[in-house]
Symmetry: C2
Subunit: 332 residues, 2 copies
């Protein structure tokens, strides 16, 4: 194993620094996803939770609590809560998107059925609320239940915005804040809250999570257009589903009448032929919106880093700063 | 309007006695199902919540709180929570069952799509957790998050037990406790808890809700076989879906080889022809399992009534007793 920090990725260094906590989270995940009465629950959950996820979100909670000097046991409950909410969301997303692949593996709705994905997702939501209730901390309950509502709201907004080429960048940002950033920012915020950190530090952690989540999702959407190593899904999925993300929204805004006809046919009517994905990619390249989107993602990563200014220097803080850079480095 | 109490049904008398509270619950439902960002959420919710539901579950919470002399504001939050959890469950159930009719109206998944039903259900779950958090009472949070987990577990168990003619009455009872009784018992229990009622009264309220919920679901399943006025769904739905309920489980246990072949074909393989539903009904009648199931439902209703013994006499208590009778009177 290399001791050269430059050789390892920031989330790997975080996982190393927080390994005892992370191991406690993994134990709690295993214990709490069990169901005496319904063995299908742990089967479905294990498929997804064991499917190579990086535990990024729970790690944010552990990192935030650690950074704020927390010495109690409940950051483990909260990190597990965050992972369960995330997993429940993925299960339901795959039903909504009719996906067949997630992280390079077949989805649960394909291996079992939509019903299992819906109901096991519900079980994990309920389990996550049990876990946060165990902390006895009303503030974290408020933060996490608000986040769960914002996530669902973002998903519904995404659903109704899909196939609508009038979707604005403002709407897109609301979707991204809902479906992704809300859980990132709740994850970091509750880490600070459980540690009883000063208000300005809790705010800093929230802002970091929010900006990191936005950068993360913009990058994810960009990779859906341009591909990338190990993204574990098919390039062009969003195009095929009629989902409007930043590069398309910007290209539509800058496009001419011919292009508008193309987008109306392919995205609104979803009449797509061979070569349409390539043509769409050409249009984005012509308007430079893949590049401008990348710039926007980098700007959000920069906001994430500077958000941490109020937090005193700390080994973990450095890793969180590096993590913000790493999120957009996936684009290189 | 008649003043003759004998002429009105117990849930109508409860609604009359609790009308101010119930009206506050309706206002809170309307306020909390709103979503500034995603108008589809209140559309879908209004379709279901406005679809002639009797508000039975929230009324149980209001009744329990009232019975225990509660004078604060939070029974309204809890009743709304209970109705939101119930509505979320219905939305997800209809996706799982691929239903097209609920309470005599087309289901949300038919009017919109499965995705909307899944995500709006998630939103209502999240909203329900926000509402219960606002009460600041950790006990009700624990009770209701446990109930939510038990509900999801019961639904998954029902899913895996469907089409399995080896399903036992014990498994059926677990499913019923999960999918129905868990929310009834949580609804009555939190009413007592928020009122800070003595332990034996809280226990009595829990036991009442549990037994009432079991009686209610057994009756519901029986009506699916024998029909009834205004059940708002099609007779034989459970048979067509391969769902095993009490009358069938008992008939299978008592049946001969020929009948076993019939059940294997129709329920396990779900190869069904014209006349199969009628034949199934004949088999149940022959073994007397429709009658014996009705007797069991009546016994659970009796348990519900006697569970209330530790509670001092009170107008509302009398109505809850009558409600237990009424639940099985639907069979007459």
């Amino acid at each position: 194993m290399s001791l050269d920090h430059a050789a390892t990725k920031p989330h790997e260094r975080l996982a190393q620094a927080l390994s005892a906590d992370l191991s406690a989270v993994n134990d709690m995940i295993a214990a709490r996803m069990a169901s005496e009465n319904a063995p299908r629950i742990p089967e479905v959950t294990a498929h997804l939770i064991g499917a190579g996820g990086k535990r990024l979100r729970p790690m944010l909670t552990l990192a935030a609590a650690n950074l704020c000097g927390y010495a109690g046991p409940y950051h483990v409950h909260l990190a597990t809560t965050v992972e369960f909410i995330h997993t429940a969301t993925l299960l339901h997303d795959d039903v909504v998107d009719e996906s067949d692949k997630r992280r390079g593996k077949p989805t649960a709705n394909l291996l079992w059925d939509n019903s299992s994905s819906v109901l096991v997702g519900d079980y994990l939501f309920a389990r996550s609320f049990q876990l946060m209730t165990e902390t006895g901390n009303m503030d974290v309950l408020r933060i996490l239940s608000n986040a769960a509502a914002t996530i669902a709201e973002g998903e519904v907004l995404q659903l109704t915005a899909a196939r609508n080429i009038a979707t604005t960048e403002d709407t897109y940002l609301k979707v991204v804040r809902g479906k992704t950033a809300a859980l990132f920012s709740a994850a970091t915020e509750v880490g600070g809250v459980i540690a009883d950190a000063p208000v300005d530090q809790v705010k800093a952690l929230f802002d970091y999570g929010d900006a990191l989540g936005i950068a993360f999702q913009i990058v994810d959407d960009l990779l859906d257009w341009q591909g990338g190593a190990g993204i574990g899904k098919n390039v062009g999925d969003d195009f095929r589903e009629g989902k409007l993300t930043m590069p398309v929204i910007r290209a539509i805004a800058a496009g001419d009448t011919n292009e508008r006809v193309f987008w109306t046919r392919t995205l609104e009517k979803r009449v797509q032929e061979d070569g349409d994905l390539a043509q769409a990619q050409d249009i984005l390249a012509r308007h430079g919106t893949l590049d401008s989107t990348k710039e926007t993602a980098i700007a959000w990563a920069a906001r994430a880093k500077s958000a941490l200014d109020p937090i005193p220097d700390h080994e973990i803080k450095g890793m969180l700063v590096d993590l913000a850079d790493y999120v957009v480095e996936r684009l290189v």
